[in-house]
Symmetry: C2
Subunit: 458 residues, 2 copies
Amino acid sequence: MQKPTLPKGTRDFGPEQMRKRLFIFDTIRQTFQRFGFQPLETPSMENLSVLMGKYGDEGDQLLFKILNSGDFAAGLTEPDLQSGSKNITPKIAEKGLRYDLTVPFARYVVMNRHALPLPFKRYQMQPVWRADRPQKGRYREFYQCDADVVGTDSLLCEAEIVLMIHEVFRNLNIQDFTLKINNRKILSGIAEVIGRPGQEGTLSVAIDKLDKIGRGKVLDELRERGFSDDAITSLEPLFAFDDLSTDQVLTQLETWLATSATAQQGITELRETLQLAAQYGLTDTHVQIDPTLARGLSYYTGAIFEVKANGVSIGSVSGGGRYDNLTGTFGMPGLSGVGISFGVDRIYDVMDELNLFPAGAGQGTRVLIVPFDAEARAVALPLLSQLRASGVAAEVYPDLVKVKKMLDYANAKAIPYVVLIGSEEVQTGELTVKNMLTGEQQKLRKDDILAFMQEKSE
Amino acid sequence: MQKPTLPKGTRDFGPEQMRKRLFIFDTIRQTFQRFGFQPLETPSMENLSVLMGKYGDEGDQLLFKILNSGDFAAGLTEPDLQSGSKNITPKIAEKGLRYDLTVPFARYVVMNRHALPLPFKRYQMQPVWRADRPQKGRYREFYQCDADVVGTDSLLCEAEIVLMIHEVFRNLNIQDFTLKINNRKILSGIAEVIGRPGQEGTLSVAIDKLDKIGRGKVLDELRERGFSDDAITSLEPLFAFDDLSTDQVLTQLETWLATSATAQQGITELRETLQLAAQYGLTDTHVQIDPTLARGLSYYTGAIFEVKANGVSIGSVSGGGRYDNLTGTFGMPGLSGVGISFGVDRIYDVMDELNLFPAGAGQGTRVLIVPFDAEARAVALPLLSQLRASGVAAEVYPDLVKVKKMLDYANAKAIPYVVLIGSEEVQTGELTVKNMLTGEQQKLRKDDILAFMQEKSE
């Protein structure tokens, strides 16, 4: 018989990984909720008419499509067959798997627009699927955790996203991170002042690669794309912002981009965002203004955010920005919003590599009761119920086997405490509590065990 | 432009539904964890070689299949086309969506058998997909919440499932439910004593319909399937167990099925399971022994469980049983286990219909700060941060609009409290806290607001 396998690019998450992942999910969810974002879940499958054309040609190809049920091939003809896979697809598949959480969110807003109080703040934590070539750190199924507020262009929302990012990473115990901020209007202004107005798209695609290929090759690419030597020379100041404070960067940008009203608007927005964040009481800020930050995605119209953890070479762990037209593609134009997305898989990798998971993060069973015989088990079972009723995760080995086997089980499951019940314990009512890590033992009565284990489970 | 729609049989879950669903998920998860079950998640897609042939012919057809990426049709020929959809499928789809959580669990156990400490207790809470004809209460995407323990045949596991069911429904506030229990061996014994040994499958399929079509038609069906009049007459005692205590049912079964050693074994197992549950301290038991309970699925070999909520006409909300051969189909025979599955969608329907969601179940934002102007907002923002730091879900309306509009927003989101900050409040430092439900107002200083809101958020 063939051994079963997993589809390429997908993963099982066993108990230890799951407990750590649940810690991340819970932390993000609680932060979202404290900031007033409300939960939303959309179906895993969407009609292809909703998904297609939203992610570019490449995105369309990376969508997982679901074969129609029943006799899907009934209407297929030989000419269809010759027309190639791309033309056959719409005839045999009308649904696809969610590619991100943004398009389903936009669809939800449009379908519920009459009932939705605006501004609408929602968060969504669900898997998405992409038929990408799997490689290290890139999977075909992965979770996104998005929070968006739509229906207002108040910069208070940008400030709250700055706060929320600080809050999430503080709560996750990731102390050393950098939150890069930019504004699409600054990118537009740069394109203006170097004499290529409206070309910030091309400019961004090139500068986006700065970290990967370096300044020289970025400029080469711009040259290839028709940027003149003059334009490229005027770009010089862009590379001189390292190691400056946010205030200094903003002041320098003001001078450099003085002739662009758009840029000035972007600078004002950034300054106000940071001032508002300070009013909220944000002090230990990890913000860095990076005028080269573009994040590829062309739909950002205002603020652009990106978070990287320092000390590891793992890509960005969070990103987002403001957009002006979330739902335009579904016939509902002009809805402005701003959002942030946290990448659970990368956050997991960062925390794992830097050993940042707190000891109690998603702990499993706290105590195993070890009865030596049937008589002892009659003492064990009510204790087990009491422990669970006090919120302590507790187990008994289901079979009456050798004590060593039970202790091996506790060790294999990393259960930190066992309660040993032999005939002496049954008689005296004093049970032996053993710390499996230190080997330390003590005799305690039932009530004291309850109190002790409750304390050790917090 | 065409309005976007949802695929048939799928649903969005908006904020209010989601908060209630999260309450159910959290309750089940916490109970599972207290009983020592560990979390597992498997990918949404599995290879079709893993899924096909596990759910019968009908199941194979109800699997959602995923079109291969890339040029999937390249190898398709005209004869293929003529061979029909069923034969084309394996050529263009090698993956499918999870149909239940049991087969992926079995696959996981087999793939990780060398690293897995036995007994292995896992829980899994994930959506599954079935291309069923959608109808009221039946969806194409729905969640299952399963807990299983494999690698032991100890009846302690059955007892713990009985306890866990009581615990889950008590914690969910569903007080009025019935947990029906049976044992496959009793069904086998019945088949034996009526002279149709080994025919408990046919027998079960018919009796399973007792609730729906009544006793007369069940007997008709058995007659059609070749059961003699003698056999059917011998079946009489099966319909005389209503309104008996569990002890009485067991005693009557012992007498009726005295000649079947298998049945006696099943009766002993049931009795021991209930005795063990009592040893754990289970008193207010909702258990009813129902010798007609079969739950269709033929792979149960021991205990069979089913839970129904009383007072509503919604099908079973939970079910499970013991099986002897979870992983045999993947070449790893003889692994016994017992499991239980909770149906979140039906549990939701029960709680909604009976109005059982506790007031605090998954509450949203607790307080909206309402600053009258920019000066007031400077007071509002630090207060907002302090509230959130104290764990209170709090918001400020992002734009400085008319107070009425902000209060409308609070009402639309069902936010129970607002804090009004006008110029008087800024001067005195005494802010107005208003209960949006009663209209009651009081003036409180910042620190008192923190304490007050913390209390109101528990």
